[in-house]
Symmetry: C2
Subunit: 318 residues, 2 copies
């Protein structure tokens, strides 16, 4: 893939007239917000542009794409993807357009460079941050809707500026969105301060069943399937559930247990500096990073709990 600078990416976008924008499967705020901002920005400078309707878009984000989508990719459209790290992250219908993909815009260091040309900036906390830079190169003046789309992308991918990917440029881009009229309070409230009862019930279950060891430094959170059913949670509700135990005061290493369809146990380990989640998971054939790792064991949670306690003891944590 030919790697473009921001200026070159802007030049490419200036040199065509009709755009079809692709987003990834299980679309999040970044891919959807980036697409909306790019689409609106291109229209501002007189281009014809639309987003290919993503069938998996959720209610939380639906209004971002109002008036911007088409259900078919027109034959003469130039196809661009945003926030898509790999061709595997496109659904079958979108993947069929891969031969026509001309430009990718992304921020994942793991990008597989599946387009003839593109810009991948792993230093951008959100793809939206990079889209902002390109829109500025194009001389786009952000309106409120564009600013809200970009702000959504950025706040979603940084956990409202809490994750370690947040840079000074991230915050300044958000400042520009606010200045252009983005209602950041409303966006953050919808994204971060609205909780489903099912999720709250799951957290209540965890608060009451959390198992603490070693003076509260080690936490085990077992989540039997029956508890998931009783709380009425879906997969959406379980997003980042492994952070719950990690965020308890004093906890340095937290292990969350879930049961998959086959009856096996999936372990998510989260740890603070000085504790090695990846080493714990490696002992069970899993892997990951020092602060966040995972493993899958072919047994029920009770047995998996015994194994983990043994490993934690062997590694000096208990």
């Amino acid at each position: 893939m030919k790697e473009l600078t921001r200026t070159e990416a802007a030049e490419f976008l200036r040199s065509h007239d009709n755009y079809c924008i692709l987003t990834h499967r299980r679309p999040d705020g970044d891919t959807l917000g980036s697409a909306a901002a790019l689409c609106r920005g291109l229209r501002t400078i007189g281009k014809n542009a639309y987003i290919l309707e993503n069938p998996e878009i959720t209610d939380k984000y639906r209004n971002l794409h109002d008036g911007l989508t088409e259900t078919m990719c027109q034959a003469d459209a130039t196809v661009v993807s945003v926030d898509v790290a790999s061709e595997k992250l496109l659904n079958a219908e979108f993947a069929a357009l891969l031969p026509r993909l001309e430009l990718l815009i992304d921020h994942h260091g793991s990008n597989t460079y599946f387009a003839p040309q593109g810009i991948v900036d792993a230093g951008s906390a959100a793809c939206g941050e990079l889209v902002y830079d390109i829109l500025m190169e194009l001389g786009v003046e952000m309106d409120k809707s564009t600013a809200e789309a970009l702000y959504t992308a950025i706040t979603a991918d940084t956990g409202c500026f809490r994750y370690s990917n947040t840079t000074a440029h991230t915050l300044r881009t958000a400042a520009a969105c606010l200045e252009a009229g983005a209602d950041t309070y409303r966006i953050n409230k919808a994204l971060f301060e609205t909780n489903r009862m099912s999720r709250l019930k799951m957290e209540a279950y965890l608060a009451q069943h959390l198992e603490l060891h070693a003076n509260g430094t080690i936490a085990l959170a077992l989540i039997p399937l029956e508890a998931e059913h009783e709380c009425g949670v879906g997969e959406d509700d379980m997003e980042s559930i492994s952070n719950f135990a990690r965020n308890v005061e004093g906890v340095q290493l937290a292990v969350t247990f879930r049961t998959d369809k086959t009856g096996a146990t999936k372990l998510s380990v989260r740890s603070a500096p000085g504790y090695d989640a990846s080493k714990v998971c490696a002992a069970l054939g899993g892997g990951g990073h020092v602060a966040a790792a995972g493993a899958r064991v072919e047994c029920g949670q009770t047995e998996a709990r015994e194994k983990i306690l043994e490993i934690l003891s062997q590694q000096g944590y208990l």
Copy 2:
């Protein structure tokens, strides 16, 4: 009080040599962070400066003031207050220094102007944002500790940029802190992502006992004293507890009930646009804003609940 511009406040600070800085009672991240940043900044430009040790400082913020405090105000020191809206917010020992207070720096629109001169900027989301501006006027180059103190002030008073007080200037000031080396991830994790078990148990109680009416648009959260005792919560744990019910998906108006020492019921009402919390509370002799109001009724929670249901019905919410 003589109101100063940022430049004049900086001139004042340049014209004296020995500073004693005051913070307010029940000190939060903003007053403590602002004091630390001002103290460090003044030292950077060759001044003698210290913070008068606040006996109420909590563990969460203690490290901010390491090496910066004294227990006595020296006789020749120039006394400055930060983030103090009124003389009533100083403890008795600090209030005894009021006749010597020469400059106040604050961002509360409700400031009572209790110093001969000062700068009050209600447009600053945090007092720390204003302190940053003054330090820039003084030509201070922020080091990591100063940047972390200012970032703490700003993130604490904006709920990590989620509150509606957040402006583009707030985000740009935070960007400058990050650029100067502030470990914003660590600060936010400590402030926003570390939960005490007692608080989590209280939230678990609420998730299980929340009473929903009118298709889930109205929520009543009764918190009997026994529940507080069982969860082991202190007043610190109950901070913003009235947001819990408000943040449940679909809830437009939430009433949280607590019992005070006398056995009376304190009601906190929170509401979304289109619902009037202050009108609900006014019917019980209380008051507040459209989105957040309170009332106190001389009866137990069961009776208070009946009264509220009647009022909600009268006002067309049920």
